[in-house]
C-alpha cells in the first residue's frame, strides 16, 4: 500500500510535537529522547576521556608531583562512575529507545511518558555528579566506594553521599527505561513477528532489560544503606556496630557483575545486525546466538563473587565461582563463532560498520581471555587490584561495548539523519581508536604482571614501570584523537554527507522500511512479518496492515509469543508531567543527601506530579471519534 499525501498528513498532525521550547520540554517521541541521551552521554564520554588523559599524563613519570593524591583520587572516581553509570548503560538504553520501535514497525514505545521521565531523571543524575564536581565536592573513593572507607568516620562530608545518590538517580532511570523496552518488545511486535522471527537485536535488548530489572534494585538498596549508615546511624556496614563490611561488597557486586553484561549484551545485538547486513546472508546460528544470550543473562547473576576472591571467603566457594565465571566464556565464544561463520559464508562488504565489528572481535576476545585468567580464584590473587585488571576491564568494555557502539553509530547514522558518514574519515577514526586503544591498554597487562597496583596516583622509580606507562599514555592520546576524528566526521556529515535513501546498506530488518530520517510517526502502515529477514524476503513490497487510527495517537498491541494483533492502544502524547515529576523526584533525592526528612517532605510534590501524570483525560478505549491532538 502506498500511502497518499492525506494519509501522511493526518498521521503527522497526530504524532508531531508541539513547536519550539514547549515541544522540547514535553516531547515523548522516542527518537528525540534517544537523541538527547546519546548527545549527553557522548559529551560525558568526552569529559571522562579527558579525565583519563589527565591521569595517564600523571602516570607517565614516576613520583610525579603534577597531581596530588586528592585530585587523582577524584579523577579516577569520576572517570569510573561517569563511564559506568552515566555513559555505558544509558548509551545502550538510548540505542534501544531509538531502534526498538523502528525495528518493530511501531509508532512509539509502550510507555512514552515513562521514556521521557527516564531521560530527565538520568539527566538529574548527571547534574548531581557533575555540578558537585564543579563545586569541588567530587566523590573521591572510586566507582565502588567500599565501606568503612566510605563510612561516616573515614569519609567526612557529603562526597560519598553524592556518589550514592547519583546511583539512585541513574538506576531508577535505568529501571524505567528497561521496563519500557521490555514491554515494547513483548507486546508491540508487528503481526507475524513471533518470538522465533524476532531479530537478534531485539532479543539482546529484551534480555538486557530483564537483567537490568533484576539487578538494579540491589545497587539502589546498597547505596541507600550506605547513605543510611552515614546519615541516620544505621550499622549495616560497621563491624563494631554489628554490621559487616562485606555485605556492601556482596550486594554491590550482585548488581555490578550483571551491570557489565547489561552493557555487553546490547553490543552483541549491534554486532549481529551489522554482520548480517554486511555479509549479505541470514545470520548463521540464530538459535545458538539467542540461546547464548539467554545463558549469558542467566549466568551473569551467578558470578559476582569473582570480584571478591581476595576477601577471604571459603575456598571451595571461590572455586565454584571460578567454574561459573569461566563457563560464561562458552556462550560468548559460540556467539563469536557464529558471527565469524556468517562472515565466512557470506559476501563481505567492508564498510565502516563492518570494520568496527572486526575491531570488536579482535579486541573483545583479548578482554574475554584475560577475563578467563582473572576468573581463576587462585590466579586472581595476583591479578586483582593491579593494572592487569584495568587492562581486562577496558578491553571488554571498550572492545566489547564501545567498538560495537561506534559501529552501530556508523550503521544507523544514515537512518537517523538521511546522510552517510564519510567512509574515508571513518576508516581513519577506526585506525586511530582501535590502534591507539590497543597501544594504550596492552602494556597494562604487563604492568599488572610486573606488580603495579591500581588506583595509585604515582609510583616509585626503579620498578621498571616507566616505559610501559609512557607507551600507555601515548596510546590513550592517539585513541582520543581518533575519537575526535569520529565526532568531527559525524558533525560534518550531518550537513555535507552523501544523501542516503531509506536503505543504504541493504539491511534485513524493519527499521530500513521507514524513511531516513523517520517522520514523527515512524512508518505509514504496520508491516506484517513472515520471516527473520523481512526486508530481504519480501522484495520491494513489504506486506502491511492498515487500521490504526490516523487522527489520534494509536499503537498496535499484539500477543507475546505469536504476535497476533489484540487491540489498538492509545499512545500518550506530549506531556509536561514527566519533566515535572522528575524534578520532584530529583529534589527529593538531592534533599535526602542532607536530611532524612527530605523523603517525607519530598513525597508531597512527587505525589502531586504523579497525580497530574495519571489524571485521566481521555474517553474509554474503543471510541473512534476523531479527536484533535491527544
Amino acid at each position: 500500500m502506498i500511502p497518499d499525501r492525506a494519509h501522511l498528513d493526518r498521521l503527522d498532525r497526530s504524532w508531531r510535537d508541539p513547536p519550539g521550547f514547549w515541544g522540547f520540554l514535553t516531547t515523548v517521541d522516542h527518537k528525540r529522547i534517544a537523541a538527547r541521551y546519546i548527545v549527553t552521554a557522548l559529551f560525558l564520554m568526552f569529559l571522562a576521556g579527558m579525565l583519563a588523559l589527565d591521569m595517564r599524563w600523571q602516570l607517565s613519570v614516576p613520583e610525579n608531583t603534577r597531581m596530588g593524591p586528592q585530585l587523582y583520587n577524584e579523577s579516577f572516581s569520576l572517570h569510573g562512575s561517569t563511564m559506568l553509570f552515566l555513559v555505558s548503560v544509558p548509551l545502550m538504553e538510548a540505542m534501544a529507545f531509538w531502534l526498538v520501535p523502528l525495528m518493530l514497525g511501531a509508532r512509539n514505545m509502550a510507555f512514552p511518558r515513562l521514556g521521557a521521565f527516564s531521560f530527565w531523571l538520568y539527566f538529574g543524575g548527571v547534574l548531581c555528579l557533575w555540578i558537585a564536581h564543579a563545586a569541588d565536592i567530587t566523590p573521591d573513593l572510586g566507582w565502588f566506594e567500599y565501606p568503612p572507607l566510605s563510612g561516616p568516620a573515614y569519609s567526612p562530608g557529603h562526597r560519598a553521599d553524592i556518589w550514592a545518590q547519583m546511583i539512585t538517580f541513574t538506576e531508577v532511570a535505568a529501571l524505567a527505561a528497561s521496563v519500557n523496552v521490555a514491554a515494547t518488545i513483548l507486546k508491540m511486535r508487528p503481526p507475524g513477528m513471533t518470538m522465533a522471527r524476532m531479530p537478534v537485536f531485539l532479543w539482546a535488548m529484551l534480555i538486557a532489560s530483564i537483567m537490568t530489572i533484576l539487578s538494579m534494585p540491589a545497587v539502589m538498596l546498597v547505596t541507600s544503606m550506605l547513605i543510611a549508615d552515614r546519615l541516620v546511624s544505621t550499622h549495616f556496614f560497621s563491624p563494631a556496630g554489628g554490621g559487616d563490611a562485606l555485605l556492601f561488597q556482596h550486594l554491590f557486586w550482585f548488581f555490578g557483575h550483571p551491570e557489565v553484561y547489561i552493557i555487553f549484551v546490547p553490543a552483541t545485538g549491534f554486532v549481529s545486525s551489522i554482520v548480517e547486513t554486511f555479509s549479505r546472508r541470514k545470520l548463521f546460528g540464530h538459535s545458538a546466538i539467542v540461546l547464548s544470550m539467554m545463558s549469558i543473562g542467566a549466568l551473569a547473576f551467578g558470578l559476582w563473587v569473582h570480584h571478591m576472591f581476595a576477601v577471604g571467603l571459603p575456598r571451595l566457594g571461590n572455586d565454584f565461582y571460578t567454574a561459573a565465571s569461566m563457563a560464561i566464556a562458552l556462550p560468548a565464544g559460540l556467539q563469536i563463532f557464529c558471527w565469524i561463520a556468517t562472515v565466512w559464508s557470506g559476501r563481505l562488504r567492508l564498510a565502516t560498520p563492518m570494520l568496527w565489528v572486526l575491531g570488536f572481535v579482535a579486541t573483545f576476545v583479548i578482554g574475554g581471555l584475560s577475563g578467563v585468567m582473572t576468573a581463576s580464584a587462585a590466579l586472581d590473587l595476583q591479578l586483582t587490584d593491579t593494572y592487569f585488571v584495568v587492562a581486562h576491564l577496558h578491553y571488554v568494555l571498550i572492545g566489547g561495548a564501545m567498538f560495537p557502539l561506534f559501529g552501530a553509530f556508523a550503521y544507523w547514522y544514515p537512518k537517523a539523519t538521511g546522510r552517510l558518514m564519510s567512509e574515508r574519515w571513518g576508516s581513519i577514526a577506526f585506525i586511530g581508536i582501535v590502534g591507539g586503544f590497543n597501544l594504550g591498554f596492552m602494556p597494562m597487562h604487563f604492568l599488572g604482571l610486573m606488580g603495579m597496583p591500581r588506583r595509585v596516583y604515582t609510583y616509585p622509580p626503579g620498578m621498571g614501570w616507566e616505559t610501559l606507562n609512557q607507551i600507555a599514555t601515548l596510546g590513550s592520546a592517539v585513541a582520543i584523537l581518533g575519537g575526535l576524528v569520529f565526532v568531527a566526521n559525524a558533525l560534518w556529515s550531518y550537513r555535507h554527507g552523501q544523501p542516503a535513501g531509506s536503505d543504504p546498506w541493504g539491511g534485513s530488518t524493519l527499521e530500513w522500511a521507514s524513511p531516513s530520517p523517520p517522520p514523527a510517526f515512524n512508518i505509514a502502515y504496520t508491516p506484517v512479518v513472515r520471516s527473520l529477514t523481512p526486508m530481504w524476503d519480501e522484495g520491494p513490497g513489504l506486506p502491511a496492515m492498515d487500521g490504526l487510527g490516523l487522527d489520534r495517537r494509536e499503537v498496535l498491541i499484539t500477543s507475546v509469543t505469536a504476535a497476533v494483533p489484540l487491540y489498538r492502544q492509545k499512545s500518550a502524547g506530549p506531556s509536561i508531567w514527566p519533566l515535572a515529576s522528575s524534578l520532584a523526584v530529583s529534589a527529593m533525592f538531592i534533599g535526602s543527601i542532607f536530611t532524612p526528612w527530605a523523603i517525607a517532605i519530598g513525597a508531597a510534590p512527587i505525589a502531586a506530579t504523579l497525580t497530574g501524570w495519571f489524571w485521566p483525560d481521555r474517553p474509554r478505549a474503543g471510541s473512534d471519534a476523531p479527536r484533535a491532538g491527544a
Partner: protein
C-alpha cells in the same frame, strides 16, 4: 617434591621469556619472579593460562582473517549462492567442544593451584599478625621462644624454607596484603581476620604494596619484605624483642614529649599506639612505609614536613627548633 621442583624449572622457561619481554628481571614486586611455594604455584598457573588463552586467541584471529579474505573473494559474485549451513553446524559443535575442553583444563588447573596454596603445613608455623593502618603496617610476631608478642612496623622479615602464618587484620578501612613474589593478595578487612600461609624459597629483599584503595596515600603504603635464612631470622627477631638501648643526649626526652603520644619506643616513656613502633627504627631500610630511604637527610625532611613527602598522611608536622630537630633525628638514627 622432586616433581614440583622439576615442574618449576620447566615453567621457568616461558616465565623467563615473559620476564625478558616485560623487563621484570629486577622483579622485587612481581608475580613473574616467584620466590615461595605459593608464588610458584600461581606462576605455573599463569603460564598454563597464558598458553591456553594465547592458542585460543590465535585460532579466533586465524578464523576471522580467513573469513574476511574468503568473504571478500565471494563478494565479487553478483548473487548469493544458496546457503547450506550443515558444515557450519558441525563446526559450531566442534568449536563448542574445543571451548569446553579448554575451559575444563583451566578450571581444573585453577582448582589444583588453589589447593597448592593451602598445602603448606602450618603446625609449627611462625605466627605473625599484620594490621593495616592508613597508611602503614603494624607487624607483630609471636615470639616462639617466649610466647610474647614482638612489635615492629613496615618491614616484614620471613624465615627461608619455613612456613609463616600471617594473620591479617585492619585497624580502620579495608587494606590488602600483597607481596607478589611471595604470594597472592588477601584483603585486610575490619572485623575479620584472614590467614595467609607463606613458605619462602629464595632469600633477598622484596617489596609488597597495599592492594585495596584505602584513601589518600594508598599509593605510598609499601611493605619491605626480607627473607633470611632461619639463623639470621632468629637473631633478627631476638634483636627486635629487646627494648631500646638507653640513649644519651636530649633526643630521647624530646622524642617522648613531642612524638610519644603516637609512637612507641619500648623502654622509654614514649608509648603511643597511633603510629608505627619505632623501637628499632634505624635498623629498617625505608621510612614511612616505603616512601623514603633510611638516610639522615630523608629522616630530617620527614620529621620536618611529612605533608610535603606524603600529603594527607596522619603524621603532623611537629614544629621543632633546629637544634631540637637535630637531636631527635640523631636519637632516631641510633635506634638499631
Amino acid at each position: 617434591m622432586a616433581w614440583s621442583a622439576m615442574k618449576r624449572r620447566i615453567a621457568l622457561v616461558p616465565g623467563a621469556v615473559l620476564a625478558a619481554l616485560t623487563g621484570a628481571c629486577a622483579g622485587i614486586q612481581s608475580p613473574l619472579a616467584p620466590a615461595s611455594d605459593q608464588a610458584f604455584a600461581l606462576h605455573d598457573l599463569l603460564i598454563l593460562m597464558t598458553v591456553v588463552c594465547g592458542l585460543i586467541y590465535l585460532l579466533v584471529i586465524a578464523g576471522l582473517v580467513w573469513s574476511v579474505l574468503r568473504a571478500r573473494q565471494h563478494a565479487k559474485r553478483a548473487a548469493a549462492a544458496p546457503v547450506d549451513d550443515s558444515a557450519l553446524d558441525r563446526s559450531l559443535i566442534a568449536s563448542a567442544v574445543i571451548i569446553v575442553t579448554g575451559l575444563t583444563v583451566l578450571i581444573f588447573g585453577s582448582f589444583l593451584a588453589d589447593r597448592a596454596l593451602l598445602a603448606a603445613r602450618a603446625e609449627k608455623a611462625m605466627m605473625v599478625r599484620v594490621t593495616g593502618h592508613q597508611w602503614w603496617w603494624r607487624i607483630e610476631y609471636r615470639n616462639p621462644a617466649t610466647g610474647r608478642w614482638v612489635e615492629t612496623a613496615n618491614e616484614l622479615h620471613l624465615p627461608l624454607g619455613r612456613t609463616t602464618r600471617v594473620e591479617l587484620a585492619s585497624n580502620d578501612v579495608i587494606h590488602s596484603f600483597w607481596v607478589p613474589n611471595v604470594s597472592g593478595k588477601i584483603d585486610m578487612i575490619p572485623g575479620r581476620r584472614n590467614m595467609l600461609d607463606l613458605t619462602p624459597r629464595r632469600s633477598g629483599w622484596f617489596r609488597g604494596a597495599c592492594a585495596e584503595f584505602c584513601g589518600a596515600q594508598h599509593a605510598h603504603m609499601a611493605l619491605d619484605v626480607r627473607v633470611d635464612d632461619p639463623v639470621a631470622f632468629d637473631a633478627w627477631l631476638a634483636g627486635q624483642a629487646e627494648a631500646a638501648r638507653k640513649a644519651q643526649g636530649p633526643g630521647e626526652a624530646l622524642f617522648a614529649l613531642h612524638c610519644g603520644s603516637c609512637h612507641a619506643v619500648r623502654g622509654t616513656p614514649a608509648n603511643g599506639r597511633a603510629g608505627p613502633d619505632l623501637t628499632h627504627f634505624a635498623a629498617r631500610r625505608l621510612i614511612a612505609a616505603g616512601t623514603l630511604p633510611m638516610t639522615r637527610g630523608a629522616l630530617q625532611g620527614w620529621i620536618a614536613q611529612p605533608q610535603a613527602l606524603k600529603p594527607g598522611t596522619a603524621m603532623p608536622a611537629v614544629p621543632l627548633r633546629p637544634a631540637e630537630a637535630d637531636a631527635v633525628a640523631s636519637y632516631l638514627a641510633a635506634l638499631r
